[in-house]
Point group: C2
Chain length 434, copies 2
């Protein structure tokens, strides 16, 4: 892709309400822009990143025998009345009226709709289990939308739902989804922890959260230094009064409380901050009973489906990557989430030899399947292009500059800042090994 051809409006201006690095940098680097409170547009580079995350989620879910569907975003209120959530969810559930004065809801999640979809269409245990998911727009009318993509009102979520003939089979799938989610977060290049969690309002009996570790995380989680164990703060204190007071404690006080607590593996427990980016629930039959969705089991008896439900905050992950991986100059994308792997910076695109050399490398890398951008802008100077490279956060840059006369270009690692001179003929091999 040519930089001059893509609409990438980088800017030095930081929105006044943007306190988090991801919020600041995603806007400054031209990935997103705000269209209203908690409402964001994805500009071309933002759309590329969003699609990359989406693709990884889809690939791993499809490989885990889940099937993608797409449910209506506007859902009739009747469904929500049946489950009792029309009442229970309060104002976060945005109700709307159509021209005939009928009531609908902008879906914040879709348990009701998916149960209604499966109801009377799966009638026998022989057709179970089934795991259906969608990656679709959601709306939650947050009281205080903030932090950019982290807590928007309209957002992109993957929501999945599995249907089973028994609790045991649902728990098998729950474990299978935990493994699948681990693959997804690992592929995304994220440092994350799976933590035991309370299931909250959704009404389940067992649940785990996937937290991307970052200093700016809204959640405090307990992790073991020796094993994979992680938990919500609530879960390791048995005294209810202590649990209720946890939110009032400072970080230091929390750390103090953790002293002496041991993991079952014997390791030390400590606190850290996490961004909740995934959540899996053992849901049971709450919704299938409420919506009277049943199947015939192997004894010919009518049973409500046992369900699991599984969410991933796709657009939130876009912000979480940057919360975990940035510096004072801008974004540092992981290899799997980067809009392009390499940014070829032509120092002075007005100089024909530099532009030609850049284009040659560009074509060579592109022909070899490497995702490459060339900053061919004629009106911008080298310093400006370097600034954009650092702000946008491509993993690597190849600088075509003065060393060209010696047959060399400079490869820069965005994360480490390391610079390496590479001979023109060696670039492809060098890049392939990155």
């Amino acid at each position: 892709m040519k930089f001059s051809k893509l609409f990438i409006p980088t800017t030095k201006e930081t929105p006044s309400d943007a306190t988090l690095p991801s919020h600041q940098f995603l806007i400054r680097a031209g990935f997103i822009n705000q269209q209203g409170s908690g409402l964001y547009n994805y500009m071309p580079m933002g759309k590329i990143v969003l699609d990359k995350i989406r693709k990884i989620v889809k690939e791993e879910l499809d490989a885990a025998d889940c099937s993608e569907v797409q449910l209506g975003f506007v859902t009739p209120i009747e469904l929500w009345d049946k489950s009792g959530r029309a009442e229970k969810m309060g104002k976060e559930l945005l109700r709307i009226k159509d021209r005939k004065d009928n009531d609908f809801v902008l879906s914040p999640t879709n348990e009701e709709a998916i149960v209604e979809l499966v109801k009377n269409r799966i009638t026998s245990f022989k057709d179970l289990p089934v795991n259906l998911y969608q990656i679709n727009t959601k709306f939650r009318d947050e009281a205080r939308p903030r932090f950019g993509l982290m807590r928007g009102r309209e957002f992109l979520m993957k929501d999945g739902y599995s249907f089973h003939e028994s609790v045991e089979d649902m728990q098998r799938e729950f474990a299978h989804m935990e493994e699948t989610y681990k693959k997804i977060f690992t592929r995304l290049g994220l440092d994350f922890r799976v933590v035991e969690a309370d299931s909250g309002a959704i009404g389940g009996t067992g649940s785990k959260e996937f937290h991307v570790l970052a200093d700016s995380g809204e959640d405090t989680i307990i992790v073991c230094d020796s094993c994979e164990y992680g938990a919500n703060i609530e879960t390791i204190f048995e005294d209810e009064d202590v649990v209720n007071s946890l939110n009032d404690l400072t970080y230091e006080e929390l750390q103090e409380k953790a002293v002496g607590k041991k993991c079952s593996c014997g390791g030390e427990l400590s606190y850290t901050k996490g961004i909740e980016a995934g959540h899996i629930f053992q849901l049971g039959s709450t919704y299938s009973e409420a919506l009277d969705a049943k199947f015939l089991d192997s004894n010919g008896k009518s049973q409500p489906f046992q369900m699991g439900t599984y969410g991933i905050g796709v657009s939130r992950i876009m912000a979480a990557v940057i919360e975990q991986s940035h510096d004072e100059r801008g974004c540092i994308w992981t290899k799997e989430t980067a809009p392009f792997m390499i940014d070829i910076i032509v120092s002075s695109a007005k100089k024909e030899d530099e532009l030609n050399a850049g284009m040659k490398i560009y074509e060579e890398l592109k022909d070899n399947g490497i995702e490459v951008m060339i900053d061919d802008r004629k009106k911008e100077r080298f310093g400006f292009k370097m600034g954009d490279f650092e702000l946008i956060g491509f993993p690597y840059a190849i600088v075509i500059g003065k060393k060209l006369q010696d047959g060399l270009v400079e490869l820069i690692d965005r994360k480490t800042g390391e610079k390496t001179d590479v001979a023109l003929d060696d670039i492809l091999d060098f890049v392939k090994k990155l």
Copy 2:
């Protein structure tokens, strides 16, 4: 994909309100289901087809130097007030109020939002032209939602917007988009006509519609038998009274009126029915002026952007394919839109040799990149599987049955019904030539 693993709830029941073949068959074959008036869910096979259409649209637009974005679906009413459309669009524009009593709109199209996005981000003629598009959910609160995906309220649309420094450059892009749209509709395997159209409420000065030819089309269009010419009925009658009365005429009366009318090429004109599936407009500066979106031209003068706007009804095309291509037994997908190219029907999946032979062909075709389904269901009989094959409308079936003992399988062409015996060893070669 194994039939037994995918959620494909085919049914013999036709919804009482489904008068169009696409509406009936898409529901009966388990592609979609209705969740409310004009609101549809896509089940796994429906999602696959929708994604295929979407992919073709994206590939051709990207090849035509357009960049994909994703705009918020919920847009602030202020934008619509500025353009005057909050008033003008009437009840089709669904207004909603959030928890703080602020007014928003469910986007039926996004001229205002895209102008606001580009405003102050493109400031110089040097950064023009730009062509941005999205493929995103839209909502139009139709008074009478009907015909399934053909006239739903929530639907998937590709909407594109181009920005230019001059009317001439906008017209160049308009012609470029016409060619791009022709490529898209051709790749989709559709019989279509580009027709001269009135631009309607959107406020343009020149526009063309892309009609998929089908008996059930809501629009009557004029086509030339000798050349590519096509037009809306209104456009060839100069007398306004005649134009106003056209909608009251029967099809026969219309045909009569056409007698003697000649195309400029000398060919005969006749009437046919079309489904509007694409629409391109020369929009001019209506929206950029209303929203005060300007750039500096080469003389340093501030000018409003000249715009073009380009729509494709992505979910409507899914229905249009079937309106154009079906028979009394079900869907007949075109090769590019089919969920899978080949359905391997194992006559009796309980017979091990048949199932094994089927699986072997399945793996072989899959390994060669052919999109293949195997109907491995054990509880269903051959006749039922054939019925599903015809209802769903895969382009071809390979039947594994009695002839297996002679080393033969039967290949069936869904469209022509033609049956061919093929030797087991020749299948891959045979299929590759289809």
